[in-house]
């Protein structure tokens, strides 16, 4: 249970930051060069991203309680963002 919640947590922070990255036209064209950047729906991507990060917080709190949960969430945010940045920088090369 603890392990699957941890994996779900990582998935949520990675997915959340991935959506936030895609809401920026620069990253959208990098990842999906064939498709035009949906400027009108960028807000939707952003909202989805924040929603996933909030879901991650709930998972962390359920898994570990308030003290460990908050610490885990904050540090996992950095890990998720780092993975998205690494993905983008591999795509860029």
């Amino acid at each position: 249970m603890a392990t699957s919640l941890l994996i779900a947590l990582l998935g949520c922070v990675y997915g959340g930051f991935a959506l936030l990255a895609l809401s920026q036209s620069r990253n959208w064209t990098l990842v999906l060069p064939g498709r035009p950047y949906p400027a009108a729906r960028a807000g939707l991507l952003k909202a989805g991203g924040w929603a996933l990060l909030a879901t991650a917080l709930i998972i962390a709190l359920v898994r570990d309680g308030p003290a460990f949960g908050l610490m885990l969430w904050v540090l996992m945010l950095a890990a998720g963002a780092a993975l998205v940045i690494a993905t983008l920088s591999v795509r860029r090369r």
């Binding site: 936030l20 885990l72 540090l75 950095a78 890990a79 780092a82 940045i85 983008l88 090369r93």
Partner: protein, 513 residues
């Protein structure tokens, strides 16, 4: 100081970084290693790579400890990170240490090393300078500088949200360095700020000496009493055997809702007025509680129970976030990764300063640049190489090694400092290829350390993992990964033509016409 706010923050960020960068890297590097200090201890003390004991009998170990004849002694009990019992005795104010096998209660051989807990860890919080607590003051200064760097860094970051995901690894090295510095700074911001602030809060009594006298004007130990508990009584002068520690431990555990004890201390051992203190385990919460239960030695009757007060719990919670003594493997790894990211942040900051100024400063004939370069190289790659030298010396020095009146444990520390000082000298005298050469040294050192562990103990990573020694296997695998990164960096640096400008002492002399 410059006139506009961002410009003055830029000035602050640049010069704080240049002056304190080397010190910050040392503190961050040693702190990062201290996250896994117990695991490094196992690697450096092969005799303590024990399988976890199924049952631990405190009474069996008390027998060994009382045989030392010391009037005062204590034991740190095994955890999932430390399979041994670390005992100490106090005779006439002098401490002696001995490790016990929890399965048998018998003493283990002296490991003849200070390991990580007694070298990397004190390096992290005191720089090993105990005189007038100068080391701790320097670290306090560095912690304040770190927070100033965090704030000024956010102010001068031009596009913190637009460039949040931007890491351009490409041909232009200064671009890569700055992107890496920005990403490491933004992602590490919560961790770095928390770690600097909590370090200061932990040493509040060092940095604001006598602060407790505001609330506790009377001299004496009433503050210590309230904060940390404490119980004392004189010896009766009448011999009497100690009761069952196991029974006392069960009672303590019952009072703590199932938490176990982490430390047991016996005072006036063998006396009728002996008493036994149990400190509560730190495994299950962030806060480093000072909860303790004290029993009468001969009868096991409860004498005193200390519960951490609300104010102290706050201080202990903030300290606990820094110390990470809790049992939480994902967080432990995240602390380690965040620490490494902090090292990257500090190193890329110094590197960017060098890359963007070398040419201009050399043309202006500024003398400081080669100095900053040598200090940066020695403080970063040199520090890592020195750490590996310490580990290699630990594995290759014979068990009874001694030279020039220095014990084996001291020789290991000599290996550290000789390599570290040599790395500064190397960077100052041969700066042309210094980064590349030191990266090669790190790659070779990591491989040598892993190989020497395999040869001297038989615990190559696969073997160690198969027999459940995850600390040892993890240590080897992290070194192999780190060594590979160093080798890739070294190859890239080697292929690049060293950019040097006239006036740099590192530039080769012009060929004779």
């Amino acid at each position: 100081m410059s006139e506009t706010f961002p410009a003055s923050m830029h000035w602050l960020h640049t010069w704080t970084g240049v002056i304190i960068g080397a010190l910050l890297f040392a503190i961050f590097w040693m702190g990062t290693l201290s996250v896994f200090d117990r695991e490094i201890d196992r690697w450096m003390m092969p005799a303590t790579r024990l399988a976890p004991a199924a049952t631990v009998s405190l009474d069996a170990m008390a027998k060994t400890m009382t045989q030392t004849g010391a009037a005062e002694w204590g034991m740190q009990l095994p955890t999932d990170r430390t399979p041994i019992v670390s005992g100490y005795t106090v005779t006439d104010g002098t401490y002696a240490f001995l490790n016990l096998d929890p399965a048998t209660g018998k003493p283990l051989h002296d490991p003849a090393t200070r390991g990580a807990t007694d070298f990397f860890f004190p390096f992290h919080y005191s720089l090993l300078i105990d005189q007038w607590q100068i080391g701790k003051w320097l670290i306090g200064l560095a912690a304040i500088a770190m927070m100033a760097l965090c704030v000024s860094g956010v102010v001068i970051h031009r596009r913190i949200f637009a460039d949040f995901f931007t890491l351009r690894i490409g041909r232009k090295t200064s671009r890569t360095t700055l992107d890496l510095h920005n990403v490491a700074g933004v992602l590490g911001l919560p961790f770095n700020f928390m770690i600097a602030l909590s370090g200061l809060v932990f040493f509040i009594a060092v940095y604001v000496p006598g602060i407790q006298s505001v609330v506790y004007p009377a001299a004496g130990s009433s503050f210590t009493q309230d904060a940390f508990g404490g119980f004392d009584r004189d010896a009766a002068g009448e011999a009497r055997a100690l009761g069952s520690l196991d029974a006392m431990a069960r009672e303590a555990s019952r009072r703590w809702g199932g938490d176990t004890a982490r430390i047991v201390r016996v005072t006036h051992s063998g006396d009728a007025a002996a008493y036994v203190s149990f400190d509560r385990s730190l495994a299950r919460r962030v806060s480093m509680t000072s909860d303790a239960v004290i029993f009468d030695g001969p009868t096991g009757r409860l004498l005193h129970e200390h519960r951490t007060g609300p104010m102290m719990t706050t201080q202990r919670f903030i300290s606990g976030m820094h110390f990470a003594q809790f049992r939480h493997w994902p967080l432990r790894w995240l602390y380690f990764a965040s620490g490494l990211l902090g090292c990257v942040l500090i190193a890329t900051g110094s590197l960017f300063w060098l890359q963007s100024r070398t040419k201009r400063h050399m043309n202006e004939g500024a003398v400081g640049m080669p100095l900053v370069r040598a200090i940066t190289i020695g403080a970063t790659t040199g520090m890592i190489a020195a750490t590996l030298a310490y580990l290699i010396a630990n594995r290759l020095l014979p068990a009874d090694a001694a030279a020039l009146g220095q014990s084996r444990a001291q020789l290991e520390i000599w290996a550290f400092f000789i390599v570290w000082i040599a790395s500064f000298a190397h960077a100052a005298l041969l700066p042309r290829r210094a980064w590349a050469v030191q990266c090669w040294a790190i790659a070779a050192g990591a491989l040598t350390a892993v190989a020497s562990n395999a040869v001297t103990t038989g615990d190559h990573p696969l073997h160690a993992a198969l027999r459940g020694q995850w600390g040892v296997a993890g240590m080897d695998l992290v070194m192999l990964a780190g060594g590979s990164v160093a080798a890739i960096a070294a190859m890239r640096l080697w292929q690049r033509k060293p950019r040097l400008v006239a006036g740099d002492p590192a530039a080769p002399a012009l060929p004779a016409a």
